[in-house]
Every structure is written in structure tokens, then in C-alpha cells.
Amino acid sequence: MSDVQRRNFLKTSVGVAAVAIAPGLLLFKVAHGQSDDDSKVRWGMLIDTSNCAEGCNECVKACNKENGLSGGLAPTDSQWIRKIEIKDVSTGHQFALPMMCQHCAEPPCVDVCPTGASFKRYDGIVLVDKHRCIGCRYCMMACPYKARSFVHAPLHDQNPDVPRGKGTVESCTMCVHRVDEGKQPACAEACPNKSILFGNLHDPNSEIAKKIRAVASTQVRADLNLNTGVRYQGI
């Protein structure tokens, strides 16, 4: 193998495509989940924190029931969605919001996964393929939103639509089994204040796309540039 061949081999074998833009200057593009900008569908959520009531836990309960989570809060219990209450100490402004996997367009969990188990579907939903997951938990460390849980103990009597099992990592699936049937995620359906608006961000005529054009919305940790599919209003 010549030196050049060897260098090319090394470049491609680490999953990085390099384009020479000038001698000695390379443009690198990390080859993870392909850009979904041209997909017709990108599922997302817009969460209106001004409607989200403090003390209410309906979305969390609905998620636990739908996906067969115990609802326990121990460090080893799975939590796919958490209710968070925040207070701005300088102004005293207080509000609540549900926090879950943000279904990033540039998901760090996918970047670090050594087996290809963490992946992004064509419609923007980020999932763990448990057939491939080896339980290394790299993705849990990489996720800036603490969105993922590891299943520590054997499970029994799972929902036939939601396979879950010991030794694998899991997180919010945006209720992919319901979405594929044309239904809403369980949390969005359960919210008594209609705070969670679910829909297709890439369809300009969808309710969510219209609202996201009309109101100011925020990505949590926007500085990380992950282009989250879950956005918040009023924070």
C-alpha cells in the first residue's frame, strides 16, 4: 500500500469523508445520520410552557402507561419523560415543562454509538435498535438532555407494541408505534391543557409548522447546534 493509498484508507475508515479544497486544507464532514432536510416528513413537537401547569404530571403518566415503564424515580428506573419546574432566581419567574429526547437532527447519541444501534429514522425520530445495542451506554453519556435510560433488570409482560429489555438503552420513541398508525404520541394526547403540539415540521401547512412560523420558539441548549425536533415556547 502506497502512502497515499494508506492515508485515504485511514480517512475513509474512520467514517469521515474529506474533500480537499486546497492543498493541505481539507473540508471534513462527519458521516452520521444523513441530513433529513430533503425528507418530506420530520416529526416534531412544540411545547407551550405557558399552558403547562405546575404539579400536573399527566404526560409522564401517559408515557409510563403506554410504554410499560414502572414510573419509579430511582437512578436505575427508566424515565422517558420528566416534568421539570424551573425558577428564574433573579426575577422569580417560575414555569414548568416536560423534558424528553429532543429528537435532534444532529444527534450526538448516534455519533458515538459504536454499533449503529442508535439511529435516526427518515422522519427524524431518533431510536435505539435494540437488536444491535450492546448496552455500552456511550449514548447516555453523550446526550446533553439526559434523555436516555438503561434497563437494569429483566422485564416481563411488555406492551406487545413496545419491546423493551434488559441490557439495552432506551428513550422516548415519540411513540413511533402510534405515529406509524397515524396517531399522536401518548403524552400529546394526554395533556389536559393541549401544551404539546405534535406534527410534521416539514409540511408547511401542518398546524405545528404554521405555529412555529408565527410564534417565537426556543431549542433547549440551542448553542449546541443540534437542531432539535422538540421545541419550546415561552422559555
Binding site: 427518515y122 422522519d123 435498535d129 437488536h131 422485564l155 409482560d157 406492551n159 406487545p160 423493551r164
Partner: protein, 127 residues
């Protein structure tokens, strides 16, 4: 040829025409096929190849979101779960267990997937 001889020959010919499907009785172990019914493929072919169908469809379903109405683990279980306990894995003669135990092939499908008939599960978990 004597009359009984002809009868015997006819019987032999007829029994050769019996499709292999009925060979269930000849299995060297007891198996509860549940409701059974019309399989998505020929049952004899399925005995040898069901895993290829399942693995192919599993990647399409999980990674590409292409769900198949017919080839779906939940459908297999719907037909083949025992009518006694609604499960394909609960007993040693349950549909998945019987053959896999005999062949000494360990499957881990049901560490994550439910082995219960979905309609029964829904009924039980309906509020």
C-alpha cells in the same frame, strides 16, 4: 393380485399423497400450535425459514419504519399463542419453545418482545 392386496396398494398410494403439512403428528415432541389457521407461507417452508422472514422484516420495520401487515411477529403470536394461556413461550410445549428446545436453539426474542397474544394483552390491560 388379491383384493386385500389391491386395497393395501391403494392405501399406500393415498397415504403418499397426504401433504407434509399433516406430518405434525409425526413430530417427536408435543407442540401446541394455538389457533393455527392459514399461515403467511407454506408451513413446511416456514419450519425451515421463518427466521429469515423475521430478520428481514425486523430491519425494515425498526430502521425504515416499513411495517408489514402480514409479516409481523405480533401476527405470528396472534395465531400461534396457546388457546389455554395466550402465550407462545409459557410452557415446554408452547409454539416457539417446543421446537427450539428440541433443536437446542436458544432464542432471545422474548427478552424484549412480548410472547402474549396482543388481543388478550389489550383485554387484560384495558381500564
Amino acid at each position: 393380485m388379491s383384493v386385500p392386496g389391491v386395497r393395501l396398494l391403494l392405501l399406500l398410494l393415498i397415504s403418499l399423497c397426504i401433504p407434509n403439512v399433516w406430518a405434525d403428528q409425526a413430530l417427536p415432541y408435543k407442540i401446541d400450535i394455538g389457533r393455527g389457521g392459514h399461515c403467511v407461507r407454506d408451513p413446511v417452508w416456514m419450519r425451515k425459514n421463518h427466521m429469515h422472514l423475521l430478520i428481514h422484516q425486523r430491519d425494515l420495520t425498526v430502521r425504515e419504519g416499513k411495517r408489514d401487515k402480514e409479516i409481523d411477529l405480533r401476527n405470528c403470536i396472534e395465531c400461534h399463542a396457546s388457546t389455554k394461556d395466550d402465550s407462545v413461550i409459557a410452557r415446554s410445549d408452547s409454539f416457539c419453545v417446543a421446537c427450539h428446545r428440541y433443536e437446542a436453539v436458544k432464542i432471545d426474542c422474548f427478552e424484549c418482545h412480548s410472547g402474549i397474544r396482543k388481543s388478550a394483552w389489550l383485554e387484560r390491560n384495558a381500564k
